[in-house]
Symmetry: D2
Subunit: 258 residues, 4 copies
């Protein structure tokens, strides 16, 4: 694994045209740069702050479209699940089950994901440190599944900000699993009075470079051809037109550290 | 409501004898001090850090025993639920459904709890501020249930500590709902390398007095006749023999502020 | 010492008429409520974020006016010093030398203050916990001065907020010294883009009640007859007309806890 | 300025032999790697937590030795000052006056440093964000000195930990000044019950790589041939024998990002 891998796509499955466009463009960029690419989109958003936010097209429509992307472009795919009874169903469509950060300690959910035999990618709670993620890894391994990945996505810093503690990259690597930096959600600004989480997408480059420099194995980046009209998380997504240049820079940093 | 109310009991249903003993003693104390009393015990612990920790006797045994306590001592009861499909079942046994702090933004869970028609007590996430809890209140109210309560249980302060921000008491009161201080879990010390959350129970008095002084409507205190042998959260529970003296002090503070 | 004591006055010496008015009114209130009263005003503001902020009338004018207040109303007085060479001079005019929170670890300053023989009141750094303040106490005691007090003023919580951790009240009391809550500066909101620290004065009641309930020996409250036109820290000062009612409430809480 | 620069040396001037040895070895490494090198040592430690800690050989001895190092190896030098009256004296011996993080808002100190005409390097307070450091820059510039640098050294994260927020690197660069990462003090673990600040020197590589990747212009690293016997800050200093390999890695990262 000489290069880092990339998990990328829109925040949520908004429609077929959109996911196909994104997968097409990102897979071409990644092929050229020799970056293994995993397509990501949520089929449901289960923990919006504000009940009025968009939560998806319906689970079966969303999962079908994610699978279609994978089949069409020959890509592994990932999405997040939110309750133990979703695991088996989602596993029919996707290759990597992602556990949301708020739910990273829900034992039932971790075990249900593990039992599908799929890769399980656990996002580190925004209130945990890297060493304590060993317990999540162990819960999955004890359920008979050794295909675990961990994702850093920042820690709460006061009420309305997140900070990424890069010590967590080597600390999580010590658990013997691939470590991913979620560049998108690490830039969230929670607890905004609007009920819509803010963000700061022009810092994605900073977050990503530091992650690669400190040894991250993969990056997670939400991207959209028009973040301003995205149905979820528009404040944080990278404009798709900026992805290629960013990845080129990151490949250079990667080569400097391996 | 001249006095504050008390939610108290063991962390988890360990057995019939224990819950009966606790309910008996606490209800006598509360009757004497004119403190409305709600019996609390978890029937399942779903988010232990370490998979080896005790998680309960089985849901139906646990719920049965909680109901028996309520019937025997004529007490309202509460317990926490962890997934939307538990709500309807738990509602057959208990009067107040408590939503765990890590799950306070899971819309499905909040709505399922709301739809039982029972009182819903949402614990504030350890990463949220009081004003942002208005979105949880609204999710429940929009599901047709106005019986909402909010519970403060501290905010993450670095990786291994919690701090209680008492500004959240008046801030949450502004949402027009009763506000409870969870004196037990506010003293947790998370992310300990052992995988067992530490604590500091001799500070319960400090946490509780400040809560009553700043206008909390209720207190949540886990108590046990022998915390050293408790099967869960022994590090934080108040020794049952110390409860009466504590409550006497708190009643005096309450009278000074109303 | 049945009651708590009060350190109060304007943030900075703005002029003779103002300090006399405040001392007159506050001393009458405190006499009636049997609250020992210490007059406070800064003669210089040494650490304004923004160099354009008001920093005082000049040291000798400021110190003279503080002394005049003390002599006129028969009150002990206090002010803050910022460098070791100020200690001896300030000690000629005031009774309690206050060490600013940012400077609480500057050994030279602590020793110079100690050597005046005056009472030394060290504000806890916004980055320290109560137990670690024992080192400040020891530095002063080893310089031959046992008249030490410690003041809580909140801890940084993210970049733009402070939170008061009331565990620090009993923790600092364990050092065997009086513990004071600075209700004014605990409500600051630092790092505002304007360069002027914001605040939230309507939470003073919350901060003060929790402090008295948890055992604080004294309170520090900046007050002004017209905070909106104050030359420094107007965002945090309590309107003088609200002081009497607040203190009446606090006396009731005090009686409930001693 | 194709390469980053390095500020390095022992925490404090312990003796002539030691400072000469360090300067000799580091200057050879830096010459080979084309890294501009500034020799650093403190001549006095003014804010030890514990009064019993070593504070230096005496100011004039310390300053003389720093100057001797600069003259002998033809290096620019730096040290920290702690009170405004030290600025003029220190400026006779050293080239860059460093302002400690706790003191970064002391206006008198910043102005006294500025008025020497030397370069002034202000360490960002562990409680400030990058944008708010513009006020420190302005105070120095308004005193007629445009030679300002800013140093990141981590932010308090709970009571006993620091975290480096790499967003501060680009944020401080926006003030138009060189930005330095203090790799040593960013790893401190404050508020330890011993009164001696702990640390974690094996994370220096992580801190330094992320800094260079995100655009830092310089690095600050305390180094010692035998940290275990160092008279100050031994817990954080890099073993001198590890410096060359670290710098080689960092030069590669630097080339990847410029």
């Amino acid at each position: 694994p000489d290069n880092f891998f990339l998990i990328a796509g829109p925040c949520v499955v908004e429609g077929e045209e959109l996911v196909m466009e994104i997968a097409d463009k990102v897979s071409k960029i990644c092929r050229r740069l020799e970056i293994p690419y995993v397509f990501k989109a949520s089929y449901r958003k289960a923990n919006r702050t504000n009940a009025a936010s968009f939560t998806g097209l319906g689970d079966s429509v969303g999962l079908d479209l994610i699978k279609k992307v994978g089949d069409t472009f020959q890509l592994p795919t990932t999405s997040d699940i939110h309750a133990h009874e979703e695991a088996a169903e989602a596993a029919k469509y996707i290759d990597i089950l992602q556990i949301p950060a708020f739910l990273c300690r829900q034992t039932d959910l971790l075990i249900a994901a593990a039992e599908t035999g799929k890769i399980v990618n656990v996002k580190k709670g925004q209130f945990l440190n890297g060493p304590s993620m060993k317990f999540a890894v162990e819960k999955i391994q004890k359920a008979g599944n050794n295909k675990v990945m961990l994702t850093e996505r920042g820690n709460f810093f006061g009420y309305q900000d997140l900070v990424v503690d890069y010590r967590n990259i080597p600390w999580m690597s010590e658990h013997g699993v691939p470590v991913i930096m979620d560049c998108t959600h690490s830039l969230q600004q929670p607890n905004q009075t609007s009920g819509v989480t803010g963000g700061n997408p022009n810092l994605i480059t900073t977050i990503a470079k530091a992650a690669i420099a400190t040894g991250a194995d993969g990056l997670f980046i939400e991207t959209h051809p028009n973040p301003a009209v995205a149905l979820s998380d528009g404040a944080n997504m990278l404009h798709l037109s900026k992805l290629e240049n960013l990845l080129e820079q990151l490949v250079r940093v990667r080569k400097a550290v391996i």
